[in-house]
């Protein structure tokens, strides 16, 4: 139901109807907020960035009120996932920079920028690089992993968004994970 409403809202934005972006905002706010809250929960207490600020940041990364020709929910979540990736990587970068300039400013991130993933810590900066390389070669699998890993969508949801079967998503997800694992273990 909501996916339909998002599509309608996006269409309204493209037609330039007044208030359309607010309507979309209302619709996706909850989802984005969950994304943000989940991220914040992982990063632990004492976080400098507020959930709302983060959501606003997501929204702005999506283009504020002028989203580049979105194509329904699929497009939207792709963009949201990308925004999440940007945020996480940004924070990781900031963290790295803070470490380099230790003493200049009080560190703002208590938790390490690396994210726990099944017991292994993933270096976000490296993952970002790997993802960029992967996306250049395998477009759809890259979208799958983006939606799964950064937007937290379920396999059936991704399948619906990309208009493919769940089995395809499963397959490409596994492929993407393997590929990225190999890329990261090469160094």
């Amino acid at each position: 139901m909501r996916s339909h409403a998002v599509t309608v809202a996006l269409a309204r934005i493209e037609r330039g109807e007044p208030g359309a972006s607010e309507a979309l905002w209302d619709l996706v706010y909850q989802d984005l907020k969950q994304l943000a809250a989940a991220r914040l929960a992982r990063l632990g207490a004492g976080q400098t960035m507020q959930a709302t600020a983060l959501v606003h940041e997501v929204w702005m990364r999506l283009g504020g009120d002028a989203p580049p020709s979105f194509d329904g929910r699929a497009h939207f979540f792709g963009a949201a996932a990308n925004a999440m990736r940007n945020i996480l990587v940004d924070e990781a970068r900031k963290k790295a920079r803070l470490r380099r300039n230790a003493g200049r400013k009080p560190a703002t991130l208590p938790a390490d920028a690396a994210i726990e993933s099944g017991g292994d810590a993933v270096d976000l900066l490296a993952l970002d690089e790997a993802l960029t390389a992967f996306a250049a070669e395998y477009e759809r699998p890259a979208r799958v992993i983006l939606l799964r890993y950064f937007a937290g969508l379920s396999i059936p949801q991704i399948a619906e968004l990309l208009s493919v079967t769940g089995r395809t998503v499963d397959r490409e997800y596994l492929f993407a994970r393997t590929w990225l694992r190999r890329f990261l273990s090469r160094d």
């Binding site: 007044p18 989940a38 702005m60 940004d90 017991g119 937290g152």
Partner: protein, 1304 residues
């Protein structure tokens, strides 16, 4: 590298391969890939990785999974903690209603309304929390109480209400076959209940028969109005989304909704909307029909309903009855047909129709008036309502058929004029009605204001919007001020709204203050000239058939120029609004326009690839300048001899206007092959640097700086560029979706990045000290250009416009920001807080402020972390560091009270003496004075060094016993006074006891001795040691601080408890026990640690932790409250007494104008603070408490019980406080109040735990009691954060329950 076909195969083969056990994979790879070596290698490697190293790498998302929005519907029976035995009663638009048993605080049957999923839970709950505060104020036998709200196990919001045993009022009347009179009497009761709520500022918003349940108690029919305020709680908090549009469908029942409620949403709704709904209910009671009923399929959409409601004039009740053969004998169950009809016809018709008027102004102003008119009818008195006047019907007719009527306008006009006598009469007659309406609106405004004040801390943005909403409903500026005071920072003066199509999505292109202070702003296709100070529109400029993409005002402020997308340029006269010219020359949409500096020419640019230069007076042929690409921007240079044009290929061209020839081509680093889109072009800008030979263009995400000879000086990423001085440029680069500020040197093109400033734009202020900027959250803020730091935020989002228009008033006192509306902010940089550099909070320790010729702050920027003895002196006005002192041996440095020099102290360890050093403000040493050793004073840091300046301008210094241990008045302990100019010791007297807290008085010869152990405060003459005055300590007080008025007559004592007293020493001369003449009670978490006289003794100030309370010396009446937002460690008064300067422990200095609060505000401080109850009246504390208690007891509502508890607590009577919390109050309803109460209790116990004098047994008891109170606080809904803020909560850490309650 694989090609696409190989990649495709790889994906498939990989999928097949992972199905196989690892041992079989090598063979599979060899078989499947054949002789494709690259593919074989890739597949083999990936399969190996999958088998060996993958584990669950990236298997779980970095963020928790998004919820599946298409989850199956939740189970039927809700699960809510504390409730049991759910039994479904009804299904409604908002959700399902259950009968249930509430188990706590008392076991009782209640109605639980589970809100339909799909609404924003958090918002509904937050909203309801606010609403509940208002609902708690209502206590009426005919209004069902709301007990509780929360979320069920599935996270759905629910409301718990009084269970009402009754049926909808319509059903009841039919079942009981009530007569017309009985129905009216029952209905009057409903009106009275609704009026009760209205007078407490609560609207129902969804009145209908099913929300008015009637039960029978004995012989009496008792109505209960249910769901009060719930519609509001479910609606969007900003009121921008009306209730019916939530989830795209009506939440309420449109038949009962007032027209303005259907149209305008929450903003338009007031008490008269409820009157309309009541009118519909009455109509139905009298006729069994609704005034407006859809024929056939009821319209689903809001628009259709709106039309139906506006276009249908309902028949009078009597007419409706006659026309319905089935009910011609009276409505269902009514009986007595003919009589019923006769009774209905006439007056009652008019009463009902008055309530149902389309225009709120024509309805009854309140439910009470409605009820009174019905009582008039019942008592056979004349009713207020009457048939609509001819004028009214005429107006309605004109309104409905505006277009058709235009032709006959003259006729109608004359008719109206002919009737104007009647009209005047009507105006007079309706004056009372209007006053009533105004009162109702006022009440609503006050209520919104209260909401806003409650929200102020958690959500300042929302609070600000609510404050605006409130101020639009009430003219009482005090209401607005109250909220603003509760807000951390505020400066919003006014909001202007009123364009035809709004200014959404950053479509505004012009915002400019004229020299006369009027403001011009642009909407999508019009512009408005405002009297911005009054908020009134003076003139509107409209005409273009399509959007206006650029506007300009000529230097003489005579003309307004607009460039429209319809291909025309328009020229209006600002003074008259007359359109002087429409320029149709261009063949495509215009994108830009500009006036030359002398105003004699203007230029336009268009997508048709030309720029045209016109003479303003219309003479001569226009000059046409051509590009090969569409144009986006145009600008004149200062001399008016050159024109710059910017085109879609990224090229800027410079034209010589004298010859009309192309002078220079300024190409970008790389020509744009595809060209820029039209939209990007519309946003492009080009301008000349003001004094050096540079031209700047901005388009898309590139800023280019060209020299006048066409050379490209710099090409930078940037979405915003604004001149900053003569030779610099602010740019905002888009880095990872947020703006990062950079400053570009226009001469060299070098950029100085300020990546820490995440700003989308920055516009320098006229004084050049600041820039008004928009940060990455799109909030307006103020950037201090000296320190390149954000010094304040203005509340409220700017807009989703990354290049906002900002205009300064000619007098520099305010500025406007064009967003979705125009917001005008006070520009008061002097009052902007200023964070001193350093390591907060340590820097503020022993830091202080003083205000002599200039306000200065003395701080220790390194705190105590590094003992390098660095001290800094800051001029607060100019925000400059005046000087620095580096003397590690200095134990303290403090400013003199008059702010002209500093004094430092160096302990001489060997000799037990001190060296005092006098510094100039720039840090130079002026004098060093050795103080001889005092035999019994130990060599340590003197915590107190006190100053005074006498009539001859000599400095006097008083040192005292170190470490705050008050010496006893015995031989060998001395109080010393020195002249710091000469170094001469002026006096040495036996120590009178206590701590000298203040030195001064009429001849600078008095010292006030205070101390928590003393029974008396003493004023001593330091020259002779003679005691000038003594006052007895009040029973609860600890004399922590005191001061003497400049004339020596009044003594101010501030106590550790939040109390301050003023004694008139003339009265105390005879009797040391004479009572203080005034007392001030400000219940703040901590208070009284610093105090002093202001305004020559007329006012007193007490520092209460993060607030400074100023009260009148003679009366103890609150005068002003300053909120430096953090613990205040220093305070100074400006020489003219008009301003105060504060320094907080976080190192923030701020100037405050010493503006008195209005009477309403003083009241509001107490009322609206919620958490804090500030009382201020003349009298002793005992008298005050007694008076307050008496009043609260006399007005015993549940809320007042809670307040009684708080007072008992303030008096230290814990048992009484706890008793009050349990007396006659409903814990669930009063949750928030009790939260504070219990938290106060916790704080009190914790404070006692810190008392070294307490016995072990007392500590154990206090700790147990504190934990119990803490549990209660949590049970009432206290959140962890608030609990952690309780002072001294750490003292409970070792209690076994602590971990369970607070974690860790």
């Amino acid at each position: 590298m694989l090609d696409d076909a190989q990649k495709h195969r790889l994906l498939h083969l990989f999928a097949d391969g992972v199905e196989l056990p690892p041992a079989d994979r090598a063979a599979f790879v060899a078989r499947a890939c054949g002789d494709d070596v690259a593919l074989r290698h890739e597949l083999g490697e990936l399969l190996a990785v999958e088998a060996d190293a993958l584990a669950d790498f990236l298997a779980a998302p970095a963020v928790a999974a998004a919820p599946d929005t298409d989850t199956p519907p939740p189970p039927v029976v809700p699960e809510i903690d504390g409730y049991a035995d759910f039994e479904r009663l009804a299904e409604g638009g908002m959700g399902t209603v259950y009968k249930a048993w509430q188990l706590r605080p008392v076991r009782r049957a209640v109605a639980v309304k589970l809100i339909r999923p799909g609404m924003d839970t958090a918002q509904v709950l937050a909203r309801f929390e606010v609403e509940r505060q208002a609902l708690a104020l209502m206590s009426h036998p005919y209004i069902a109480a709301v007990h509780d709200a929360g979320t069920d196990a599935l996270g759905r919001p629910f409301l718990c209400m009084e269970l009402v045993d009754g049926v909808p009022i319509t059903d009841y009347c039919a079942r009981e076959r009530l007569s017309l009179e009985a129905r009216l009497r029952l209905f009057v009761k409903v009106c009275r209940a609704v009026d009760h709520a209205h007078r407490r500022g609560v609207l129902h918003r969804d009145l209908k028969p099913s929300n008015v349940l009637v039960g029978k108690h004995g012989d009496e029919a008792v109505p209960k109005v249910i769901d009060f305020g719930i519609a509001k709680a479910l609606a969007d908090p900003l009121g921008e989304q009306s209730i019916h549009t939530l989830a795209g469908t009506f939440l309420g029942t449109p038949e009962y909704m007032a027209p303005e409620q259907i149209d305008g949403g929450a903003n338009q709704v007031d008490t008269r909307s409820d009157v309309y709904s009541l009118g519909v209910v009455l109509y139905e009671l009298l006729t069994s029909a609704r005034p407006i009923e859809a024929r056939g399929q009821p319209p689903a959409g809001v628009v259709q309903w709106s039309r139906l409601v506006h276009e249908t004039v309902p028949p009078r009740p009597s007419t409706r009855l006659r026309s319905q053969p089935t009910t011609a004998n009276g409505p269902a169950g009514g009986g007595g047909g003919a009589r019923w009809l006769r009774r209905l016809t006439g007056d009652l018709d008019w009463v009902v129709m008055k309530a149902l008027a389309k225009e709120p102004d024509r309805r009854y102003g309140s439910a009470r008036e409605f009820a009174e008119d019905l009582e008039n009818f019942l008592a056979h008195r004349p009713v207020v309502a009457g048939p609509p006047s001819g004028v009214y019907r005429l107006r309605r007719f004109v309104r409905r058929y505006r277009v058709q009527v235009t032709a006959a306008l003259l006729v109608l006009l004359s008719l109206v004029l002919g009737l104007s006598g009647t009209l005047w009469f009507l105006v007079d007659a309706r004056a009372n009605e209007r006053a009533a309406i105004a009162r109702a609106r006022e009440a609503e405004g006050v209520r919104i204001a209260a909401e806003a004040a409650l929200l102020a801390k958690d959500n300042p943005n929302l609070a600000l919007l609510l404050a605006l909403e409130a101020s639009e409903r009430t003219d009482d500026s005090a209401v607005r001020r109250t909220i603003y005071d509760a807000l951390p920072q505020h400066a919003l003066q006014r909001r202007l709204r009123g364009h035809d199509e709004g200014i959404e999505q950053g479509t505004g292109v012009l915002l400019q203050y004229l020299r006369d202070g009027h403001l011009v702003d642009s909407g999508a296709s019009d512009a408005v000239l405002w009297d911005a100070d009054r908020g009134t529109q003076l003139r509107r400029f409209a005409g273009p058939r399509d959007s206006i993409d650029a506007m300009a005002i000529d230097p003489d402020e005579r003309l307004l120029l607009a460039a429209s997308r319809d291909g025309t340029a328009w020229l209006w006269e600002l003074a008259t609004g007359t359109c002087l010219r429409v320029v149709p020359d261009h063949t495509a949409a215009l994108t830009a326009c500009a006036f030359a500096a002398d105003g004699r020419h203007f230029a336009t640019a268009s997508l048709d690839g030309t720029a045209r230069v016109f003479a303003t007076d219309g003479n001569g042929a226009p000059l046409v300048l051509r590009h090969e690409h569409p144009l986006g921007a145009v600008a004149f240079d200062r001399g008016g001899q050159r024109l710059a044009t910017f085109a879609a290929d990224g090229c800027t061209r410079l034209w010589d206007l004298r010859t009309g020839r192309l002078e220079r081509e300024c190409p970008p680093a790389e020509r744009l092959a595809d060209g820029l889109t039209d939209d990007a072009l519309r946003g492009s800008e080009v301008f000349f640097a003001s004094s050096i030979d540079r031209v700047v263009s901005l388009c898309g995400s590139k800023v280019r700086v060209h020299a006048g000879d066409g050379r490209l000086v710099a090409e930078l990423d940037g979405r915003f560029a604004r001149r900053f001085g003569d030779d610099r440029l602010f740019v905002s680069r888009d880095v990872a979706g947020t703006g990062r500020l950079g400053v570009v040197d226009l001469r060299t093109g070098a950029i100085e990045p300020h990546d820490e400033l995440r700003l989308w734009s920055a516009t320098p202020t006229p004084d050049g000290r600041f820039a008004v900027a928009v940060d990455y959250k799109l909030e307006v803020c103020l950037l201090d250009l000296a320190s390149m730091r954000i010094v304040r935020h203005y509340l409220g989002p700017a807009d989703k416009n990354w290049r906002p228009h900002i205009a300064f008033h000619p007098d520099g006192t305010r500025f406007a920001v064009l967003g979705p509306d125009v917001r005008i902010w006070t520009f008061e940089p002097d009052y902007a807080p200023f964070d001193l550099p350093g390591t907060a909070p340590v820097l503020a320790e022993r830091s202080n402020v003083a205000w002599g010729p200039a306000p200065v702050a003395v701080i220790r920027p390194d705190g105590f972390a590094r003992a390098d003895g660095r001290w800094q002196v800051w001029d607060v006005a100019s925000r400059r560091c005046l000087g620095e002192i580096r003397r590690p041996e200095l134990a303290f440095v403090a400013p003199s009270p008059c702010g002209t020099r500093l004094i430092g102290g160096i302990p001489e360890h060997g000799s037990r003496g001190w060296t005092m050093v006098v510094f100039a403000l720039d840090g130079r040493v002026q004098r060093e004075i050795e103080l001889p050793a005092s035999p019994r004073i130990e060599p340590a840091v003197p915590n107190e060094v006190h100053w005074a300046v006498d009539a001859a301008g000599r400095f006097l210094i008083t040192t005292l016993n170190p470490e705050g241990r008050p010496p006893a008045p015995r031989d060998g302990v001395w109080l010393q006074c020195h002249d710091l100019t000469t170094g001469e010791r002026l006096a040495q007297i036996p120590h009178p006891g206590g701590v000298p807290t203040w030195v001064g008085g009429p001849d600078a010869a008095s010292v006030v001795m205070a101390g928590w152990h003393l029974r008396f405060l003493q004023v001593v003459d330091w020259r002779t040691g003679a005691v000038r005055a003594r006052v007895a300590r009040p029973p609860d007080g600890m004399h922590l601080n005191a001061a003497l008025s400049p004339d020596g007559r009044y003594l101010l004592g501030a106590l550790g408890e939040p109390l301050a007293f003023v004694w008139d020493l003339e009265r105390n001369a005879a009797d040391a026990n004479a009572a203080p003449i005034a007392s001030y009670i400000g219940m703040t978490p901590a208070g009284g640690y610093a105090c002093g006289f202001l305004a020559g003794g007329r006012l007193c100030q007490v520092v209460c932790d993060d607030e400074v309370h100023v009260f009148e010396t003679a009366t103890g009446e609150l005068f002003a409250v300053l909120r430096p937002q953090d613990s205040c460690t220093g305070l100074a008064e400006s020489p003219d007494g008009s301003e105060l300067l504060t320094l907080t422990t976080a190192g923030r200095v701020q100037r405050f104008p010493l503006d008195p609060l209005s009477v309403a505000e003083r009241r509001a401080v107490g009322r609206l603070e919620g958490k804090r109850l500030a009382q201020y009246r003349i009298g002793t504390p005992e008298q005050l408490l007694a008076a307050e208690r008496a009043w609260l007891t006399a007005n015993a509502t549940p809320g007042n019980h809670a307040q009684l508890g708080r007072l008992a607590l303030a008096a230290g009577d814990l048992d009484e406080a706890i008793a009050c919390t349990q007396r006659g109050a409903d814990l669930a309803v009063l949750g928030p109040y009790y939260t504070y109460l219990y938290l106060d209790l916790v704080g009190l116990y914790c404070r006692r735990l810190g008392d070294p004098r307490a016995t072990a047994a007392q500590r154990t008891a206090d700790r147990t009691a504190a934990i119990a109170a803490l549990e209660q606080a949590f049970a009432c809904g206290a959140d962890r954060e608030r609990v952690l803020a309780v002072p001294g909560i750490d003292r409970l850490r070792d209690h076994p329950r602590h971990a369970a309650l607070l974690g860790r």
